[in-house]
Symmetry: C2
């Protein structure tokens, strides 16, 4: 009953299974590809500007707004460089040119794994940050929700997970519409706001007073603000990594989406920074900067609520970028043997279910640890993605230099500049955020790379041990061809053991069959011997008394002694009955001895275990 | 390596395994039996008086001390009745006459199970309450420990568990010495205190002011205080339940221990109540009543610390009463078939390890839930044990009436009075504590009884299905004697599957062997067919394409169709290779498909599964 319920619930939540042949239907065109892959970058305007202000506002007071604008400008420039760099990557890697592939191809395996690990970490953080920021948007609108910050965030992640387990195409539809609503309402807000400020000179009073300046601007402060703002740029990677998700012509579509993405981010980031400056928005725990702008522009009317809700929705959708990016990346790494194979297997609905689940669990843990406070998560964020940017751009640079095809100098210059700029950014982020948490990421990456190498080693050793070429079939067959000894395990003389005995006798006619019993008391030994005779069983019974009330060791020593007497290559067949219970919770009534015995016996390559089921009714 | 470390740690903590034949050495004499079985009752003086005062002090102020004395008197009388009642039980039940056995014998199975469940609940609570109260004693001495209340309590429970897994005799030694130190220091404190008050009229000022009276004494208040004080009487049951733990003459020894226990409880409870009255001790979260008395008597000197430490130790030892009582009780219930059999199995050191572990886990959960505050746990406490007292005394009463041996009238009167008094106590506790938590126990008991009945039903059905008498051996054997079909599962053509094929070919000479492969893509299907031919394998290969990337269902439908074609009683033998990894964590690399397939196939009574191990190096 439990299993049936589970099956029904799964079907309802995830949908009916899809065939392999349905796969080509699940691709994205530009119209749906833009919202699903660009929402991460676009939505980050909801917190990137705020993070910059948090750095400045306590120190330089009103001057913050001037430097907010300058910082946004610098980040905008960085974005333009990234877009041009990544256009070249899309050209060269039609099957998806994430940093992992580009770095591995052009710089070697270890840089590739570093880029891959960095991206994995950042995808997970994107989910945690975006879902938390989405919750913040809701709380800015309805303050009483602040008591359920963590619960709401986890709920958003769960919904996201279910949507993605359903499959790529359905998720794009489901998530695309709100992204467009968000874009429309953001542009409405910016236009209305700019018009009000420019033509009507309406500047409402701010919700919170701007703190007095306590210091002056320093280079370190400016760099910290820049690092904080870099969180806006984490979505760019997703597009070039996801080319196989696009409908043909995939590369062209991806490039268009990338350009549109950059334009949207630039205009919205610029527009909201301008309005934040005009309205003197001040970061506050239960009221985001964006919500203060929206409130001022629309005087808290209907459109304020539309903005808050669509912001929350698009931030949640942003998490979805990771839900399409991470499982794909993990499947690539798994196909190369650097991650467990389960990540390369498509689930019932053709998504990489295991990657999706890993992402859901890891990000939920982060949300719980940092209590769904976006600002707490920020120091861990962005460093990973800039490491992968750097490795990827460096890889492209090396590629042009080694290939030297027509026009390579210009192309190498673009990617070289990209590499340099992103490398400088890594240093800036690393230095300014190191003590705030970036060190964790720095420690984690080498560890992940080591794990991936271990995994590869294991699979290589595994393949070597299994490899069979047509030439050595005969010799392999020769090795295992005699097996005379058959041991039937008997716990007591009942129908189940009789079934096992009958089965063994029929299967192994003419072989040497013995029954083996471990008894926990001397009484028990006597009793089973008597019953054996009484029942007239014609195969010999060996009874071993185990004074330490231990079942497995006496059995193992008996089998090892038998093995000793047989010639090399002989296999011993152990036949054992196993009770099969009809209800899952009945298994507590039958201790898991059968499973434990089998597990132990199979450690010996010369023992095969035959399980004869005895199905219990009810 | 992991397993070796585990083995070593276990040996160090628990000791080397003991043989069945060592069992008789593990019995208790009077000198060691008293501390191990009486510590529960004796130690409850550390909180019972305090609980009575908590009820009174907020309401009737200074008058509390008068009623404390009266309540203590009533509880003392109750104890005397219980002792006489239980002496008769010990006479009649030399193999341990816990409430479970007595009620089952004389009242029927359901009352027996109720008594058993009630005792189980109370044993668990005894551990939680005593360990928490032990921690309170430590905190009264060293206030800074109050931040680690839960941690300290759990640590105490873990130490207790390890001690008990080592075995009965060692634990009595380990735990007996501190009980005697406690007794000596308590008597010293009482004598010194009484002498100071009586002869020198030294009455120090109290640590905390006695609150003003806000109401007057009511019957309900008095009854609530009585219920609170009844927590002192939970240890009595343990003695008569544990007669088999005593050295011969076991019954005589048990009766002596019971008498000594009552004398000790009466004198210490009386003495401390007197001193609490004289010194006007007031309950306080971080300073127990007992610690206030000890501080006053010894002026906070060396003996104060001795009292606090030995109180903490003996309270922990009190938990140990449950650690010897509950596993024994559970083993009796399990032997009757009302609890899973695991509870009737002796562990490596001859203790009932599973019962010990259950107790440790359940009490730790309670401690965490109630933050190790004894006062929070009290409302759940004592009701269970008085339910079992009542059932046990009623059982004894019925016994005398039905047997009518010499002197039965007098004996029936004693047990009848006992039953009545304890029944009234159950009603009092139930009514006065119901809304504070006693309702949980009231709800839990019928549920436990239902579970136990379910368990019995299962085991009975199980035994019926398995039962084999010498007469039906032949007919059972007849049923399973043909099995022609052998299916070898092949995931890809490698050494492991070749080993399985060779094994199957040799084992089942002349039978109908086929290889079966489920492929997840059409490519894969082609590839394996080609390689099969290339390798020159002479058994037919069946390839099934699974568009939903699902392995088990195609296999099951194939086997069901095969089964359909064969005659009734035929068994199909499925041979499958299984990788055996050398390090436990390597199992994440190989998905658990083999286990899942076997588990599914065994649900069919006509399928036997042969597992051929392929051991991976490193």
């Amino acid at each position: 009953m439990f299993e049936r319920l589970y099956g029904k619930a799964k079907k309802f939540l995830i949908g009916r299974p899809l065939k392999n042949e349905d796969l080509h239907d699940e691709k994205l065109n530009i119209f749906w590809g833009l919202p699903i892959l660009a929402s991460d970058a676009i939505s980050s305007v909801a917190y990137a500007g705020e993070e910059i202000l948090i750095v400045f506002i306590g120190v330089i007071g009103l001057l913050s707004y001037k430097y907010l604008f300058l910082t946004a400008l610098a980040i905008g420039l960085l974005l333009i460089f990234l877009v041009f760099s990544y256009r070249q990557t899309i050209d060269c890697y039609p099957n998806g040119g994430g940093a992992y592939i580009v770095a591995k191809d052009n710089l070697g395996v270890t840089p590739g794994l570093f880029a891959g690990s960095a991206l994995i970490v950042d995808y997970i953080l994107t989910v945690a940050v975006s879902a938390s920021a989405g919750t913040s948007a809701l709380i800015s609108m309805m303050g009483f929700l602040s008591n359920f910050r963590v619960e709401i965030t986890i709920f958003l992640i769960v919904m996201m997970t279910l949507g993605n387990l359903r499959g790529v195409k359905e998720s794009s539809r489901m998530f695309g519409v709100p992204t467009y609503i968000f874009l429309i309402s953001m542009f409405t807000m910016i236009i209305v706001g700019v018009v009000k400020v420019t033509f009507f000179h309406q500047i409402p009073t701010a919700a919170f007073p701007v703190p007095e300046a306590t210091g002056s601007i320093t280079i370190f402060l400016a760099l910290r603000a820049f690092s904080a703002g870099c969180t806006a740029l984490t979505g760019v990677e997703a597009v070039s990594n996801s080319i196989p998700n696009f409908r043909d012509p995939a590369q062209k579509n991806a490039k268009i989406v990338l350009m549109l993405l950059a334009l949207l981010v630039l205009s919205i980031f610029g527009g909201t920074s301008y309005l934040a400056t005009m309205y003197h928005a001040v970061p506050h725990e239960n009221s985001t900067v964006l919500s203060q702008i929206a409130y001022s522009v629309f005087n808290g009317g209907f459109m304020f609520y539309v903005i808050q809700i669509t912001t929350a929705v698009i931030l949640t959708m942003a998490a979805n970028t990771s839900f399409s990016g991470l499982p794909l990346l993990l499947s690539l790494i798994a196909k190369d043997g650097y991650a467990p194979r389960q990540f390369a297997k498509r689930g019932e609905r053709l998504g990489y279910s295991n990657g999706i689940l890993l992402l859901a669990v890891a990000s939920s843990l982060l949300v719980m640890r940092y209590e769904a406070q976006p600002h707490q998560l920020m120091p861990l964020y962005a460093i990973g993605v800039f490491i992968s940017f750097t490795l990827s751009q460096t890889g492209m640079f090396m590629r042009w230099i080694s290939i030297r095809k027509e026009g390579w100098v210009f192309k190498a210059m673009i990617n070289g500049t990209g590499a340099m700029i992103t490398f400088v950014t890594v240093i800036i982020i690393g230095v300014t955020k190191f003590t705030h948490g970036a060190w964790m990421v720095v420690v984690l990456l080498p560890f992940l790379v080591w794990l991936m190498r271990q995994t590869k080693d294991h699979y290589e050793g595994f393949a070597r041990q299994l490899k069979l070429s047509p030439d050595n079939v005969d010799e392999e067959t020769e090795n295992i061809d005699v097996q005379r000894h058959v041991v039937v395990l008997v716990s007591s003389l009942n129908k189940a053991s009789l079934k096992a005995i009958s089965y063994a006798r029929d299967l192994c006619e003419g072989r040497n069959i013995v029954a083996f019993h471990v008894s926990l008391s001397i009484e028990e030994s006597k009793k089973i011997k008597e019953k054996w005779v009484e029942c007239g069983l014609d195969i010999p019974l060996i009874v071993k008394y185990s004074p330490y009330r231990e079942l497995i060791n006496p059995l193992v020593s008996y089998i090892e002694s038998e093995e000793h007497q047989s010639s090399i290559g002989d296999m011993i067949t152990v036949v054992m009955p196993q009770f099969v219970v009809s209800t899952w919770w009945h298994s507590i009534y039958h201790n898991q001895t059968a499973n434990a015995i089998r597990k132990r016996l199979l450690k010996d390559r010369h023992v095969a275990v035959v399980t004869v089921p005895f199905v219990l009714d009810r």
